[in-house]
Symmetry: D2
Subunit: 295 residues, 4 copies
């Protein structure tokens, strides 16, 4: 018996995946492979059970049925350079082990996030935490310059305070949220799946999505069967509530001469007068789900 390893992971250890304008993600270490997940699961099942046919099937089974402790037996350590506001989102994940660069100990580097022109968008009117319309070129350029200037001013003020010999722990108060910092963290694969699902999602901030995407690309090669199950049962899945099921069923069953696209339209129109007690948000989500179901 030898330590589980994976060629791809061995090859990318230490490789710098560039993220955003100045950030990166580096895999520093990992533990486990798909065979380990399967073997750990089989400890639970013991010898009294029929032999599960194969690892791939067993892994799908674990993901499908949320038997996730075997997936926790796999870990990954990665280092990131990331803006402070992204750090604030990463650090919210509690089932992981972080070490973050300390602005009390260290002089922070002269590196600040500047969003690209394409990324500069108007605030969405409907989604409080999202971006909406495109902005005109002139405004975009003005915003771009303004952010660059603001970053520079932040750094300038910081340096001046340090020059006056103010403690680092107080001087960093004038550094803005675009300031890049560094962290190393270890996730187990179950917790990382939660991270990827949450932070790759459309409603996550675009900047953290970029880090999540790199992780997804890595896991995809490292653990193809786990990824396939994760993608199928988690990323691409929809969950229908009990009431959504009832509503959907009532439509199909009521359609004596069968399902039709027209009827579905009526259905969507009718949904607003429903007595399900659905909010506008839930109605929108329900229609989106039904759209996915009936194509």
């Amino acid at each position: 018996m030898t330590r589980p390893n994976n060629e791809y992971m061995d090859a990318i250890i230490g490789h710098k995946f560039n993220v955003l304008d100045k950030g990166y993600l580096i895999v520093a270490d990992y533990m486990g492979d798909e065979e380990k997940i399967a073997r750990s699961a089989r400890v639970s099942y013991g010898d009294g059970t029929t032999k599960k046919n194969n690892d791939a099937g067993l892994i799908k089974h674990l993901v499908r049925n949320h038997h996730e402790t075997p997936i926790e037996q796999v870990c990954i350590t990665f280092e990131m350079k990331l803006p402070m506001f992204v750090l604030g989102q990463v650090i919210r994940h509690r089932i992981m082990s972080p070490n973050v660069m300390s602005a009390r100990y260290s002089v922070m580097p002269d590196e600040f996030y500047i969003p690209s022109l394409e990324r500069i968008k108007a605030q969405s009117k409907t989604n409080m935490q999202g971006s909406g319309e495109d902005l005109d070129g002139f405004t975009k350029n003005a915003i771009h310059s303004s952010i660059k200037f603001s970053n520079k001013a932040s750094k300038h003020d910081y340096d001046m305070l340090l020059e006056k010999d103010l403690t680092r722990e107080l001087a960093r108060g004038v550094l803005n949220q675009n300031q890049y910092t560094k962290m190393v963290c270890t996730f187990n694969m179950r917790s990382l799946m939660n991270f990827m699902q949450l932070r790759k999602a459309d409603d996550a901030q675009w900047e953290i999505q970029q880090y999540a995407n790199v992780l997804c690309d890595i896991v995809k090669v490292w653990m193809p069967n786990l990824w396939d199950a994760f993608e199928d049962y988690r990323l691409n899945s929809i969950t229908l509530s009990g009431r959504q099921i009832e509503y959907f069923k009532s439509f199909l069953v009521g359609a004596t001469d069968g399902y039709s696209r027209d009827l579905m339209e009526d259905f969507y129109n009718g949904i607003n007068g429903n007595n399900m007690g659905w909010s506008k948000g839930e109605i929108r989500e329900t229609i989106e789900k039904f759209e996915r179901l009936v194509g």
Copy 2:
């Protein structure tokens, strides 16, 4: 401002809910109400957002979208008397604070679980961890007596070892898994929701379901809106994987003259020859989900 409280919870504190033949569950303490969940959520949203119309809607929103930290702000402490094998299942929940009766310190009481005659069933042939066919009355009675006898023997051996002055910590080795023990534990409501969903489910062992059911009944009255959302989006929901959605859609879209029950049968028959790479278990689950959708 006063401490959040709930009349029902105040009334049942200390009340013994009987569970199984000799067990119980007692609510010893609680913290929070639905208004607290809503208020905590609003801390995240801040003042810059449109006022969420009402607490009930906000709570449904939190459950539907898995924004669960506000739900963690609510806690409950309960005490249970429960067989050792049920304890083994409860203690697996890591996001909680347990205190368990120590068989090193204490002499264990003469109380053992004896399943009722109705509960005595044959091992399922298909489900490794479930019960199957009914057994004949004679066999049931024989099993019932055998368990009672076995419990008594276990207790007798234990007492004899203590009489010989063996350390409690070793003597308890002969006590069987039907031995009742006691524990007190504090869950936050998010973790309790996971507990209830997992342990109330059909594939949970019947004995732990009985404890979960008592907790469900309590939460239902304590937090009716949270319960309603939990029931709708979690207990009564179905999750369709990306491939299940594709399959379902192909059926509906292919049905040019509309949906029909007959066609659905073909579909079920056809599914076995699918190229989705589904295992027998997944095919069974898929059909069960489709059945729920099309009635």
Copy 3:
């Protein structure tokens, strides 16, 4: 049986304890009292043990021997307004439930931390994360003005970006670490004890110490016996390593004509030539501990 409560806690719920120049801490909810801790501990000990004489003694016993799950049965929820850089330190505590104001959803308020003149100190030469010498009045005033100016500039740039309709999630990038934000969090008492010990300590940043001090003052009244034990065994304690014990002992035993203050001086002088493999930091800590022991 009624829900455990505490008069002092009931009285201060909702009360705003001012912290720093614009921050605060409010107790929003709590669960449990000292009697609950003792009762939970007694569940572990069961009936087979001699009755522990009293709650106070039992609580001291638990703290002294690190039997801390009974202490987890007590919880507190508090709300804080705090600068971003203090939030970064609070959020590092993983055994707790936080809800933080979202700068994606909300427009951040015009409130920034400005350290008082007394707080403005020079960077320590020896302690990377601490403050050292006092600065002259002129420099202090210059720093003070500079921070105020920097805060205002940060806010100005933020407002301008919002005016140009940039998404909030990107605009907040120019807000600095002095920006005040809000959070609500629930700690169990064991985790809070870790928080208090770590954040009340001399080497914690002064700003977070102020929040920790308020919590300490509250716990002191709420749970006087727990506090007394916590103060005695944790805050005021010293831990001597195996090698420090050996060294200390060699001194006492070698002193044939008894202990004397002079001898101790020799000892301190001699310690630098020790072969314990101690670093300068450890030597300093060792002497500090010995000083406490011999007065």
Copy 4:
């Protein structure tokens, strides 16, 4: 950059360390080495600090000052065969990932713990959870036979219930706590240090000490500097409370003609009449600590 590895760990992967009469511990996987801990710590300290001289010194510093997140970046996965009552103690550690053999799925093997004759001792009169006097040979043999018989009866009853086709999940109710089971678990090194300290201690049950000892032996070779620091600052250390320090100091300072062994005896005699509010247990512990300090 290559994946951190360790020759010793690579050599022992899969090796069965026998524990107790029929149990074992096998290292199945590991992640990290001492250099990784140091490198992770340096991420926190950043570039602005003076270079820490070496990894060994830095690791000692981390352990001494309880900066333990860098230590969490190291993980180990091990498999154990262990009696049910030991499992009950292992599973109490919440910061780890376990997979336990399921007695619902599996038929439990015919393997039961039988304590050796040397291990069979009388219940301690003073320590509720410990062993006391030796027992006479006749009693020991009687106990030994009795446990063996009890184990066999337990297994016999279990088999009979399975033969009658009772569900496994109910049949296991008659299996006793000496039943061997299997688990695999992943700990990070911080959590494992807590495990080792707690379970290697004299007041831990002897059986779990045997598993902890194997883990200690492994960590000692894998991470010699971490082990050295752990042993010095944790295993061999003593913690003196604020009041114990006062008392100790009063003795040394009061001893005008110096410290003497005789005086210390008076001190011990006098301690019972102290006004420190110490319980008998605390007085015993205080004297034990003072004994270690003054030799």
